[in-house]
Symmetry: C2
Subunit: 390 residues, 2 copies
Amino acid sequence: MADTKIYQASTTAPVNIAVVKYWGKRDPKLNLPTNSSVSVTLSQSDLRTHTTAACSSSFPQSDTLLLNSENQDTSGARTQACFRELRFLRSSIEAADPFLPKLSALPLKIVSENNFPTAAGLASSAAGFAALVRAIANLYELPASPTELSRIARQGSGSACRSLFGGYVAWQMGTKTDGSDSLAVEVAPASHWPTMRALILVVSAEKKGVSSTSGMQITVATSELFQRRAEVVVPKHMAEMEEAIRNKDFEKFGQVTMKESNSFHAVCLDTFPPIFYLNDVSKAAIRVVEDINKKAGKTIAAYTFDAGPNAVIYYEEENIAVVAGVVKGALGHLDGWESRDISAQEAGDLDSRAVSVLKDGVSRVILTQVGEGPVKTEESLIGADGEPIK
Amino acid sequence: MADTKIYQASTTAPVNIAVVKYWGKRDPKLNLPTNSSVSVTLSQSDLRTHTTAACSSSFPQSDTLLLNSENQDTSGARTQACFRELRFLRSSIEAADPFLPKLSALPLKIVSENNFPTAAGLASSAAGFAALVRAIANLYELPASPTELSRIARQGSGSACRSLFGGYVAWQMGTKTDGSDSLAVEVAPASHWPTMRALILVVSAEKKGVSSTSGMQITVATSELFQRRAEVVVPKHMAEMEEAIRNKDFEKFGQVTMKESNSFHAVCLDTFPPIFYLNDVSKAAIRVVEDINKKAGKTIAAYTFDAGPNAVIYYEEENIAVVAGVVKGALGHLDGWESRDISAQEAGDLDSRAVSVLKDGVSRVILTQVGEGPVKTEESLIGADGEPIK
């Protein structure tokens, strides 16, 4: 009798926000970057992808992926690369142990959900591919370490490789042409520096900008400053950032974070035609962080921006009142503050014009903090009947 | 009997808008730049400073400068350097010819007026110092060439050295520590390529940004990409630009102009703290130029931005309808169009959101073109009584 059992495993995976930015591929097919990068993994209580991977001979023959109840195309080279690599690892252990079920030969059904609004414009592909790879690895009971899986997740979405770890994570660019040494490693666990907080200002963008996938390759091809960034600036920032994290030196962490964000957006602007992710609302957020640091007399808050106008502001728990509290004093009317107990502070030291621009342009805030890597869960998104649970 | 005669001479001088940008001083006292630059001199019919320089023993003993009816401080190092250098040249010819009146020993009275609103945020210091130096050189009857005078005007305001010539002008950075070889030279006269036009979109800035004088030195001190720009990118752009001008190759001229502007603003963004001169209105102007070029299938319009949000759009006379005419189709309600006979064109190929941002953010347009260098004039701003003419 044919085995029609439904095998399944579930995981959650986090979002990460880079403090040394990934921008540029030396090999677009393998997602091999032109420079190393570092990120902070954010708490899954606030931002996470939940994914169930299942396989069964009773499933339709083609692999399927349902994200937030919408069918996704799985025929793309990136998703296919992940499926292929994971099946290869499974088939290797199946070959060594004939008693194992031949899961590598079965069609996959993946169901995935984000706990944050996709409209928020938060890079969800990192959490998405990390969860997909981690869930299938769990399903296949692969003995692979997070670093080994990072090689696979990287092929789905570059920055996804960093979401396989919690805490502070480096993606080492590697040198090999096959990408086997382009891997994520832990710089420090969340417990090493657990007081790191993040305040995200979600900016209502009227229009989607250039996608990061195409944008970064136009930068590589046209920016006359890009090579300098990749070869000289980022290696310096990598060393400084890893040292700052080891020493829990927020001033250094914050300064490198801000300079890195600026350097990344500078090469975007130096791209031809130029790529703009920062808008006037983003600039107002930068001004507010500058005002907070000026008032403190040192760097206690640090902005960073990915391929969009949203501001992520890092700070430490001890400064919650003078960073998040002061921003709440200016933007207390927005959704998102209710998730933490923060009392609004007098915001009179902030530039009034910047506050006015933020009031008009920020749609909600997200309060979060450094968090753990993917977590296995028994909560499944696929029922015993093999159908997605609504 | 003491000579109480009022000696005087008048000139007008043009504004210039750089297409290879000056940003960064290797010697802030002498205004010696970190890189060479190229500009287009704009027509004095539209934008000019008119200056009368006078000297007399009947004047109060200290040198005075009246700009647009307001007294200016003349004690600053830059103005003093110009006065000192010009007096030195005058005293040399006085020493050689005892019959010459000893003008170098007399107090100077300078009266200056711009024919454009200072509120427009157009860099007027270039025209201002060029006119001041040219007017005093005329007063002193110095045999100095424009290039010789450029060494002096440079010390007043770096980019002023380029306003001593018409047409297409290079400021060669030089290598000497005394600045004696940091001079402006003509790349080509206006007559070589007389069809060059400029459309200036004057953007209502809510707030003055960082001054270029302080901003460029913060860039030199903090930008990690700046050195690459000064040492590699600008020399490449200089060679390309001079060749484009020699060949009247607008496509090349336009592309280098846009890349240069982007590169300059990229190193501003890479400054710490970052300097932003481009705002969302500037970005909308970039988008409109991109749309115009896309429609044409080639580069027929080129944007450039100085240390502020105003867009200067260069184009050739033959494309007046599809560049200026199309912008007029979108922004025909603004002041400034009346100076030229341009018929508004259908603007339907322009991004509608960009047009909407421009409608809200552009306060007026200025239509102008490549023009001549300083012109001697008999029209004086100082009366026979030695007082400014109101």
